[in-house]
Symmetry: C2
Subunit: 149 residues, 2 copies
DNA sequence: TATTGTTATACTCTATAACTATA
DNA sequence: TATAGTTATAGAGTATAACAATA
């Protein structure tokens, strides 16, 4: 089996199947969560607010994290600031830059949004038996480790 | 505990935490897969092609599945047809409608795209030991069951 | 001179409303 | 009269290029 053209021989069939199953399961869950939750703001705005929940960041950092251009992030930040969800403060060490931080309204919105997103998942989780819940608990730990590498 | 305002008492704390962990893990995996893969077509086009892999569908069905308006789906289908990735055939029972099906080019593109998406995941899966792979295998089965309910 | 962020401009994707053809 | 799909038009979100202020 050295000249196969359509399969990747770096991996076993079992690994490829598992990779496909894991990816599809994660993408389907994501899709369902996105569709079931009633969004309080467009996805790209929510994504930025979630990032700012960790800590204030510069527009440039946000653009890198979200993989959008600097002008796009400028627009998104403007929009969030117009809604009173974030506020700009001068950057302590670089007068060209600035720090974007959540306002109390922004924090409230993002907490409501997260609770809303989790609600569909929680209903499903609650239907599983204890063994299945424990299985998901351990698997989730592996997935979180994998994604952070 | 009857008057809590911020937590949902339909679920235990453990269930809420598990729901949040599972959701975040799935969304992070999805995000990584999306960013790591080099898309052969915009996401909404790929999504339609994946649906058509199962079976030909009408524009209306595709719009419902993808949760976009009918005019949006008209544009997407036009674009895919212009690229030779799908083709329209008359609907057998309703002359107002039509069936959209993958062309061989469309099938080839979607197979390449799926392999590309799986590649990052396969590299990560291959780094796990046998027990962890088995854990993910069983957990994935649970997730796929959950999402299909 | 390089970097951070904004403005100018254009393209894509989306939606609502109005229209055509068929059920 | 209702439904499937398209066309017309407008509103978001995105990108590249050019610009301002600062490092």
């Amino acid at each position: 089996m050295e000249t196969t053209t359509s399969t990747d021989t770096r991996f076993t069939e079992a690994e490829l199947k598992l990779a496909n199953d894991v990816r599809m399961a994660c993408q389907w869950i994501s899709r369902r969560v996105r569709f079931e939750a009633s969004p309080a703001a467009p996805p790209h705005q929510v994504s930025v607010l979630v990032r700012l929940r960790e800590q204030p960041r510069t527009p440039g950092e946000l653009a890198d994290i979200e993989r959008v251009s600097a002008p796009s992030m400028t627009k998104t930040v403007n929009c969030l600031a117009d809604q009173g969800l974030v506020e700009r403060t001068p950057h302590p060490h670089d007068r060209r830059s600035q720090l974007i931080a959540l306002t109390p309204d922004g924090e409230a919105l993002i907490e409501r949004t997260i609770a809303d997103r989790d609600s569909w998942m929680a209903r499903r989780v609650a239907l599983l038996d204890a063994d299945e819940q424990e299985l998901l608990r351990r698997a989730t730990a592996v997935l979180l480790r994998v994604v952070s590498e």
